[in-house]
């Protein structure tokens, strides 16, 4: 499906385009825990890595289309602007104004739909056909997975020895790419973390096949997937060692820890790996944690941490 060399190729492509986010440590977390703060990435999340990697592979100027209410929308909008591709983003009409504004701010055309009555995929197919646009999936695509994996590659290059890598799990693009490069580089364990209310990956691992659940109610709005992706499952089910879950309350505590001790703004989904470590759900020394994003509105952030 994808191999470590695909992640390395993506890293070469992203060199000088994506931020090489730093690795950071906090004595409170223990001397051998390092964080990779992808909230400091362009567009505020790791999603830029995969979107740029994917859109770069298309003939120059190819129109692109994505459906997303969140970080993927901004990543596709930003990447397509940098690469000279017109972008259409299909977003639910009740998406937060800040996310609509950010996506439009990157120059994408936003098409709204009613998420309760509209069929997102049908609308997307129709729009794509009409505009001759290429659909950029949020995770179930080898180039998206490989691009996302560059976050783990940088962490492993910059952090010294990492024995256990901790990665948020939603659709599975980040963990598929990260596990691919991590296992190639000798990391012993890859642990995925998902919201307790949305444990589709945990259930899928237990069953040995993809299990779908209802769309979960959780503050981790970036991780509200109801089933693993087909391609991400194929990769991650072979390479990931364990899935653990955390509660929304633990996410809030991790966000507050990041605010107070790390001086970082992390969105609920982005804090999930940190929450797992703070709550002792990940054993072992030399832990690397990917912090996936920081896109959260000021009012919401204030409400959660204050």
């Amino acid at each position: 499906m994808i191999g470590a060399n695909d992640v390395r190729a993506a890293a070469r492509l992203l060199d000088g385009v994506a931020h090489r986010t730093p690795v950071i440590t906090s004595r409170t977390l223990g001397e051998h825990t390092v964080l990779k703060p992808e909230n400091l990435q362009r567009g505020g999340a790791f999603k830029f890595r995969g979107a740029y990697n994917k859109i770069s592979s298309l003939p120059k100027g190819t129109p692109v289309l994505a459906y997303s209410s969140g970080n993927h929308a901004q990543a596709v909008a930003l990447s397509s602007r940098l690469l000279g591709s017109p972008a259409t983003i299909l977003m639910p009409e009740d998406a937060p104004q800040s996310k609509l504004d950010a996506t439009r701010g990157y120059g994408a055309e936003v098409v709204l739909y009613d998420r309760y009555t509209g069929d997102r995929e049908a609308i997307a197919d129709e729009l794509a056909a009409e505009r001759g646009a290429e659909l950029v999936r949020p995770y179930d695509d080898p180039l998206i997975m490989a691009g996302a994996g560059t976050a783990a590659l940088e962490l492993l290059e910059d952090a010294g020895i990492v024995e256990t890598l901790v990665v948020p799990v939603g659709g599975g693009g980040l963990i598929a790419g990260s596990a691919t490069i991590a296992k190639d580089l000798g990391v012993k364990r890859v642990v995925g973390v998902e919201p307790e209310a949305g444990d589709d990956w945990k259930q899928s691992f237990a069953a040995g096949e993809i299990i779908a659940i209802d769309v979960p109610r959780t503050i981790a709005d970036g991780l509200q997937t109801h089933a693993p992706g087909e391609l991400t499952w194929e990769v991650a089910s072979r390479l990931v060692d364990e899935i653990v879950t955390v509660t929304d309350q633990q996410l809030v505590e991790a966000m507050r820890f990041a605010f107070e001790r790390l001086k970082l703004v992390i969105e609920p989904s982005g804090a999930i790996g940190l929450a797992a470590v703070l709550n002792g759900l990940v054993s072992g020394d030399r832990i690397g944690v990917i912090v996936s994003g920081g896109n959260v509105g000021a009012a919401r952030f204030a409400e959660l941490i204050a």
Copy 2:
């Protein structure tokens, strides 16, 4: 007074002890503006650099004493713990509980005084004599200045060409050390930024001598000094090219910018250089900005940005 080699010596001493904070960019600020986020420093501010540099110079185990309600208190407490020196910190009894807790958390003994009736310096002298403790001044000390300057040295080493360096100014330790190394390395202009309500440096530059003002009312609690330090003035008055001022409202907007775009938690004082750049008060390409700290309570932060 101090020279570039003092800053270089401090950098060698701090190597592996202080965090080498990253340099970060934001396209919104322009391609050639880089930030040095010292809010990511140990203790949450650049102050650790100077305190550790100073306390390291004392015979091992020497008791130390400092008076501060802010970042210097935490920096001295943390440095003295690392170096095995007992620390006493004299703090006003109405200091925020979070700062009292943080200082005690680093193992320092906190002695409270009434800031309206007590004479801080007299109490400090008495305590220091009683305990055989060395006073660690917040800025007016060559080793504190040289330590602080290592933030600028790292910025200049990591950022490529910087023509203008923008530095917060309170007591003047950071700008004295920073200007010393910056001018040695060929930086053309060093610009200090202080709160409009507390323009003691600007007035002093205009007069060509130290001018004292009333303690200013500003949300920049780290910059509420009423006059330049004697030693910091001696250095900075020779090397700094210009002082500009920003309003509290501009500080809040800069904090919000840092929250939204940079995903960084910056305290009001720490945002002052960024505020100057965002408001066009610093001309020129290739600007380096030191962001001095991020110690702000959650309730206060929420109130300011939301």
